[in-house]
């Protein structure tokens, strides 16, 4: 192609009308120079070809994404509940589509990336799972996000439910953060640093509120009316490579905000029916993850040990509107703790065996201990599909136990996504 262009240039040069008006000697010199130049360039091209094309792209194809479409992908998360005493799913179904997630992701401009995740489920209809703008060009290893995102609290909560190693979130996450984990809308700022020679990351968020506003609870004023009522969180990650094959992460998280908590009965204050009081709730957590995966046999063998511990601190409402008193307050008046320990071993290229032990002082039952032990078998036909069978024995102290058999199938279509770490 280059040669063709050069030949055309030489040809054009050779027939320039102006050249015809010059003296013959000048014209001859000009032609000689042109020929010499073209020969020199052809020689250079030959030399480049001889050394393997150097840095000239040999492909003539254009951009692979000329219309600049975003990456479009979808994840299907199907659930089956074969528990012997009936379904333990919220909607009572034995088989259901737990969620479909549609993701649109692309660079917005040289400074931002956009990530949009829409969720579709029978229970919630269509909802915004996540939607955030990430600033990608900040200095000092800073990353900023604006929008709705998974709250960076603990380890499990930052993982999409369908990407979890287990069928469901741990009970401490379900009870303290929400059945599907916690996501919030606001600002996220993170910085990576390593003053001590290992990886550390500090993530701070300020969000509109902690968790979703309950539909059935109305407080005298919005939880976020004062800046102190917004949700605030901090997470410090610490990561070490123990060896080529093993590594350890120990991190800590904290989160605080005001939440609507129920009153014993609705009251009318200034012609407004109030059913909730605003009370501060603070949650603290530590998490530990140990991973082992030998580099050479990493396709076939791996092990992960993960644990989290959380403590939920509940404070009484600071100021209840008259005539309300603390006796009218039905929200939590004590603190709760909980945690889990999970392990998973890879037994073959596609098969994993795992187990989890859960314990939580359940806020839904005023702190009665809920314990659960579960085992699971995971089978990955490929990177893009997963089949899971899980058996769980769950007990609420003083109320007996329940055995659950859960099946999960999840699949992803669209561009290859990075493997979560």
């Amino acid at each position: 192609m280059r040669t063709l262009i050069i030949a055309m240039m030489v040809a054009v040069h050779g027939v320039q009308p102006a050249a015809a008006q010059r003296p013959d000697s000048t014209r001859a010199d000009s032609l000689a120079r042109a020929r010499a130049d073209s020969i020199r360039i052809v020689r250079e091209l030959e030399a480049m070809a001889a050394r393997g094309g150097a840095t000239q792209a040999p492909r003539q194809a254009g951009a692979s994404n000329p219309r600049m479409l975003p990456d479009i992908s979808a994840v299907g998360d199907l659930i089956g509940d074969l528990s012997p005493k009936g379904s333990t799913q919220e909607d009572g179904s034995r088989f259901g589509v737990r969620e479909l997630e549609l993701a649109l992701q692309a660079a917005v401009d040289p400074y931002f990336r956009g990530d949009l995740f829409l969720g579709f489920s029978d229970a919630e209809g269509v909802h915004i799972e996540q939607a955030f703008l990430t600033a990608t060009a900040l200095p000092w290893r800073l990353e900023a996000r604006l929008g709705r995102f998974l709250t960076p609290f603990g380890k499990q909560n930052t993982t999409h439910r369908h990407d979890l190693h287990t069928v469901e979130h741990s009970y401490v996450v379900q009870r303290f953060l929400g059945e599907e984990g916690l996501k919030n809308t606001g600002v996220y700022l993170a910085r990576v640093f390593s003053p001590l020679g290992f990886y550390q990351e500090l993530i701070l968020t300020v969000v509109d509120r902690i968790g979703e506003a309950p539909e059935d609870l109305v407080a005298e004023e919005p939880a976020n009316k004062k800046l102190s009522g917004l949700g605030y969180s901090a997470r410090l990650r610490n990561y070490w490579d123990l060896s080529e094959a093993s590594n350890l992460e120990i991190s800590a998280s904290a989160m605080t905000g005001r939440k609507e908590q129920p009153l014993t009965q609705p009251v009318s204050v200034d012609d407004q029916v109030i059913s909730a009081a605003l009370a501060r709730q603070t949650t603290l957590g530590v998490d530990l993850t140990f991973r082992w995966r030998p580099l050479q046999q990493g396709l076939y063998r791996s092990f992960i040990l993960q644990g989290e511990f959380m403590r939920q601190l509940n404070r009484d409402p600071a100021d209840l509107p008259p005539p309300l008193d603390l006796v009218d307050y039905a929200g939590p008046r004590r603190d709760f703790s909980g945690g889990y320990l999970f392990a998973r071993y890879q037994v073959s290229r596609r098969t994993f065996l795992g187990g989890r032990y859960d314990w939580v002082q359940d806020p839904e039952t005023e702190g009665v201990s809920l314990t659960a032990g579960s085992g699971l078998l995971e089978f990955f036909p490929s990177e893009f599909s997963k089949l899971v069978a899980s058996v769980e024995r769950r007990s609420l102290k003083g109320f007996g136990g329940t055995t659950r058999f859960l099946l999960q199938a999840s699949f992803a279509v669209g561009p290859h996504k990075p493997h979560p770490f």
Binding site: T55, N247, L295, Q296, G298, S382, F421
Partner: protein, 303 residues
């Protein structure tokens, strides 16, 4: 607002300011092959490190946070491309928050851009075809012609980022090319022995090597790229090997040898575990040594 914007721009400019004179270029690569060639071209003017190891499947590297720290300080991020690193690279690039090595940055080097790629699928591509690389086969470093292209690409990139080292980079690239040329002449007898010989490979990673050596890949252990062998596929493969007379199964050190041994036991073939990358076997610490080792081992097996 404009003040804030100005401040942000100033900070960004400060963060991406040119390297101080005399400082070494920090070159991080996805594979050991790229790292080794970069070192040979850059000499002492660069420091280089590879994210992947030569005995590791480059498709399945974990995006460890410690790699983020490496990339955060990098002047150059050179990777194989063609989606080889798609399972882990985006997390590292995003985590590093280093504008120099993000797409569009001066240090973002997709090496595949200078490679004549083979095995580009035509027609509709979907995952029913396995873990197919829609942009073409990414295992191109196992052809010395591409080794040369990589070296000259690094010469150009290092020269762009460190113009004071231009003479050194060019001299080093020429020296690499000369050493490779001399080695190729020494391989002539082995290549003649390999040419046309039927072999079975585990994965499509040996396609460029086959193009160079002339070995005739009559079948793959994987029924489709990235898909583990099924009994039915192995039964068919055994028949193919018997029909074609293939007596060698070439595989990487990170695949399960038991399956290859089973096929070999049914066909009388030899299982040849070859390092696909620098460092894939102890003592193979140089790109030219890697090619020499693989060629000589294969030649010995097919003779």
């Amino acid at each position: 607002m404009s003040r804030v914007l100005s401040l942000a721009l100033l900070l960004a400019a400060t963060a991406s300011s040119p390297r101080s004179a005399g400082a070494q270029l920090r070159v991080v690569t996805s594979t050991t092959d790229l790292s080794n060639i970069a070192r040979q071209v850059g000499g002492t003017r660069i420091v280089t490190r590879s994210i992947g190891q030569g005995y590791q499947d480059p498709h399945f590297i974990e995006a460890k946070p410690s790699f983020v720290l490496e990339l955060a300080k990098a002047d150059v991020w050179a990777f194989v491309g063609l989606d080889l690193e798609i399972g882990w690279m985006p997390l590292l690039i995003d985590g590093a928050r280093n504008a120099k090595i993000r797409p569009g940055g001066a240090g973002y080097v997709d090496v595949s851009k200078v490679i004549p790629v083979i095995d580009i699928p035509s027609g509709n591509v979907d995952r029913s075809q396995g873990d197919v690389h829609a942009l073409g086969n990414p295992h191109y470093w196992l052809d010395p012609a591409n080794g040369r292209r990589i070296a000259w690409l690094f010469r150009d990139k290092f020269t762009q980022l460190d113009p004071n080292g231009a003479t050194t980079y060019t001299a080093n690239a020429k020296a690499f090319e000369a050493r490779l040329g001399a080695a190729e002449q020494a391989w002539a007898a082995d290549l003649a022995a390999i040419k046309g010989k039927p072999v079975v490979a585990w994965h499509t990673s040996w396609r460029y090597f086959a193009e160079f050596t002339g070995m005739n890949i009559v079948g793959f252990m994987e029924p489709k790229p990235g898909v583990p062998p099924s009994p039915a596929h192995l039964a068919g493969l055994i028949q193919t090997m018997k029909r074609t007379g293939a007596k060698v199964i070439v595989m990487e050190p990170f695949y399960d040898r038991k399956t290859a041994d089973f096929v070999a036991s049914k066909t009388g073939a030899t299982v040849l575990v070859l390092p696909p990358s620098v460092g894939g076997k102890k003592g193979i610490d140089d790109y030219i040594d890697l090619m020499k080792y693989d060629i000589s081992q294969l030649a010995a097996a097919v003779r």
